[in-house]
Symmetry: C2
Subunit: 244 residues, 2 copies
DNA sequence: TATTTTTATATGTATATACTTATATCATGA
DNA sequence: TCATGATATAAGTATATACATATAAAAATA
């Protein structure tokens, strides 16, 4: 019977709903914090904490001395594009399309110098070397080359690769993913791209190079996702917090 | 003599410095909140607010019941790549290199359907139509095609374009920039690219399409930045806040 | 009328305090 | 030895309160 999430989160959820349903309209002011505090039966500090979260999401903005205003029509979804996050990313993004995977390579090796740097490993700590082709409605969509430290996921196998690395890490191993650092380039197609992505020699490729890490800072994935230039774009939402 | 920034921000700044200088080492625990509160002579709530900010920046992470740990070695700079933010972005990024601009087009027009949508304008509200070539040490670097509503910046002129749109908007007009939504694609070079970026027909181009807006949600820029595929990559840091 | 000053209002910051909950450590017992 | 349970610890949540400060609206003044 105890509340699963803190009050400020429940309140944020309710306010998000009101914005979505038009109770609070874009470009108009919301009730002030004291009024909301009274309505929800909490202190103003708790309301403020809820509003702070919504501000960071870009749903509202506040002006000291004035009030709180609804924005509400900014696109909010970020396109994650992480091999390990396919169930949040690709699957969610494509909705009802049929996403399948094909494992092209599943090997284990000692890390190169570069991998040792990116994944913070010693030279005697093996990494998985995985290449997967992801298809949408049987059409080649993205070619993913992924390296992951074996020690973090000793029991990784081909069956998991076909399903979801993400839910394996999160649900089975209890690892908490935290963030990613991505570098996006344009490149020319190479032999693998031509073979698996059905593209021509000389075609441009959109490559996303990524290091992803856990909540404690451990890197768990170094990957390259290669997309046909006309098949996909990469989307980023950057809300810069006001610099003090 | 009054403090220009709030205490929690000053404390965050000091802790950032300590991490940078190695007083608090990566992978080790920091002093607990009560100790820090005592040291800085503030309440624990104030310390917590400072730590919350550092957590969002990805510098530290906290575990309830355990403590606060330093991460500290995650690359933090985001490559903004916004025409209007060149003084935070391009200039800052390239440090001591000499960045110059060349105005290729500076016109005014009524918006197309697409511009009306992206910039939330009526068909009788004119937009500036700007093409700039940016050079680093006299080498072509990026070709920027920018559209901005005239009503937000009636006095924009060619001299400003050569200097900094960003500081004009921020310092002269007092507008507060808030965020941007970007879409990144790979593309094939077109005539303009070939002419100004010194590239060959068939070369891949990294294009960043962007809508940027002010704190109140008003879009003020719709732009395309086109980069030679081997000249530049686009970098993103994505710290996902723990989902509740 | 136009400008300046005052006042009311709403958000921001900061504190002290109490309680909750996740984690690690240490003691206990099978 | 290994699992279980108590205990200490540290961060998280929430409140009440006071004051600071930015903004808008109203009142006073030239």
């Amino acid at each position: 019977m105890q509340p699963q999430s803190p009050k400020y989160e429940q309140i944020a959820k309710e306010i998000r709903k009101r914005i979505r349903e038009g109770v609070y309209q874009p470009k108009t002011a919301m009730p002030d914090q004291n009024t909301l505090a009274e309505e929800f039966g909490v202190s103003r500090m708790t309301i403020k904490k809820a509003l702070d979260g919504l501000t960071m999401e870009g749903l509202i903005y506040t002006r000291r001395g004035d009030g709180t205003y609804v924005l509400g029509d900014i696109p909010l979804k970020i396109d994650t594009n992480s091999p390990a996050e396919e169930h949040m990313g690709l699957t969610a993004e494509l909705g009802h399309e049929r996403v399948t995977s094909q494992v092209i390579k599943f090997a284990i090796m000692f890390p190169t110098e570069e991998l040792m740097t990116h994944l913070k490993l010693q030279k005697n700590e093996p990494v998985f070397d995985i290449i997967r082709l992801r298809l949408v409605n049987d059409e080649p969509y993205v070619l993913e080359h992924t390296y992951m430290p074996q020690k973090l996921m000793p029991d990784l196998n081909e069956k998991i690769l076909l399903h979801s690395i993400y839910s394996y890490l999160k649900d089975d191993l209890g690892l908490k993913l935290s963030g990613a650092y991505r570098k996006i380039h344009a490149d020319l197609s190479n032999d693998l791209d031509i073979r698996y992505l059905n593209c021509q020699p000389g075609d441009p490729i959109l490559e996303v190079e990524q290091v992803a890490w856990l909540q404690d800072g451990t890197p768990f994935e170094y990957s390259f996702s290669r997309n046909r230039y006309n098949a996909r774009s990469y989307t980023v939402l950057d809300i810069s917090q006001p610099t003090v």
